[in-house]
Symmetry: C2
Subunit: 252 residues, 2 copies
DNA sequence: GTTGACCCTCACGTAACGAGAGGCCGCAGG
DNA sequence: CCTGCGGCCTCTCGTTACGTGAGGGTCAAC
């Protein structure tokens, strides 16, 4: 039973080589092989392939997809919900582009020429908008918020990649120390906290120790943040908050 | 005057390296260089860059983009119209995907499992829509049109790749024979014509010799087809028509 | 018992950049 | 005047996600 590479490739509209590749990198290993070494794909394998293709279509790298799909506690329904959300966003983006094109056509008819900034504004948006709205609700009007808005406005796609990568490293440092049982008021923990503060200061706003402590509290109190940390390890959010507090005390 | 690489990169949300790359491959050469060899981008350069980014966003390869932008007789308004159309299509596609996701969620709730074909139907569509509309205007209602619609509906991305590749080979055969001075009523020309007919029959509809002759006429009469052949070699469209006629006569 | 369609594993090629290395250019400040 | 520093230059090598054969087994069918 099960399907051969060729069959699967035909269903999914991809090449056999692509399936070989996904097998190679461990993204989608067929759950069985025949005695002759032929790949056999089961129904769950097809399910997974579909997920892979979906996220690929939306521009995720294969590595990112692997992370998403292997996230612990990610049931199918969660994925479907997330996919729907992603599609909505992407559609919104394209609609904005369509509007921009319309705008350009009208401008051209009237003989108006656009400034460089205007010309590219449709490509300019990116990640910031994602949490910018929510950020405004929480911190709108504050100094830090204004600073963040001003600075992030100039960031390129590349900057955002760097930022998320760096954020990942910082989280990694927290997680590693926590996993190895380091105390929250120890050197490792405090150093990681300091790195976290530096990251924010570098890319977003002047994160004082006072503000940092407030953030630490938020990470525990706000479900949306807490979940992200708890998913990595149980108790991590609280541990991070304590590390931040210890670090602030150290620098007081 | 003009803008430096860094400035342009910031406007457009791309990296300097990308601009270097586009310069290297000839996709976007800055219209000027300073005495020191610095790239200077003019307003028209920015216009072109914007087009490039637009088509890139929609998944075109840089080579395809070069072809699109350097097409003779492509004024800005044509591009804008085409872009709007492409966006509309893409949005439609995503909406279909969103619907499919919704469908999958409902199916899951009811505990129904999908067949492999159903599972991947959302990835099934592809190129056909591109020229399907125009085809409908010209040949709507005819037998060949219906047949084409039914058959192409089942094609996967892979099939389309194969089809375009094969079409390329056929054109190549025509062009080579023509370039070497083969007569339009000679064996080589007629064989190429026969190959062309077989290609259409294989992938689209039963192309009789009668229909084929009509197509030959179209290739000369319709600017949109003629341009494609004349771009390869001057006089090629007429030569192909003659080869098709000779081939039809041979098989009569 | 031999085709023909399909499968396997290397292994190298390609597109579209990313990431430096090593070295000019140009101007604000001492 | 020169010196630092950000920006620009040209290589060159690395990476992702496969494409494209080469060389060779497998298996159902005629």
């Amino acid at each position: 039973m099960g399907y051969s590479v060729g069959q699967v490739a035909r269903f999914a509209g991809i090449t056999v080589r692509t399936l070989h590749h996904y097998d190679e990198i461990g993204l989608l290993r067929p759950s069985e092989r025949t005695a002759a070494g032929y790949r056999r794909y089961s129904e769950p394998d097809l399910d997974r392939l579909q997920q892979v293709l979906f996220y690929r279509e939306l521009g995720f790298s294969l590595e990112e997809i692997a992370v998403i799909l292997d996230e612990p506690g990610s049931d199918p329904v969660t994925h479907l919900r997330r996919q729907h959300e992603l599609l909505r966003r992407r559609i919104g983006r394209l609609e904005a582009m369509a509007a921009a094109v319309q705008h350009a056509m009208e401008a051209r008819k009237m003989g108006i020429s656009l400034t460089p900034e205007e010309r590219f504004e449709m490509f300019g948006d990116f990640d910031p908008a994602q949490f910018a709205e929510e950020a405004e609700e929480r911190w709108g009007g504050t100094d830090a918020f204004e600073q963040t808005r001003r600075r992030t406005a100039r960031y390129t796609r590349d900057d955002w990649r760097a930022i998320t990568a760096e954020a990942g490293e910082v989280l990694q440092a927290f997680a590693a120390a926590f996993a190895e049982g380091a105390p929250a008021d120890g050197e490792r923990a405090m150093d990681a906290a300091e790195r976290h503060r530096a990251h924010i200061t570098r890319w977003f706003y002047d994160c004082t120790y006072e503000i940092h402590k407030g953030l630490g509290e938020t990470y525990v109190a706000d479900q949306r943040f807490a979940v992200n940390y708890e998913r990595v390890a149980e108790g991590l959010s609280r541990w991070i908050r304590d590390a931040i507090h210890a670090n602030a005390a150290r620098h007081a």
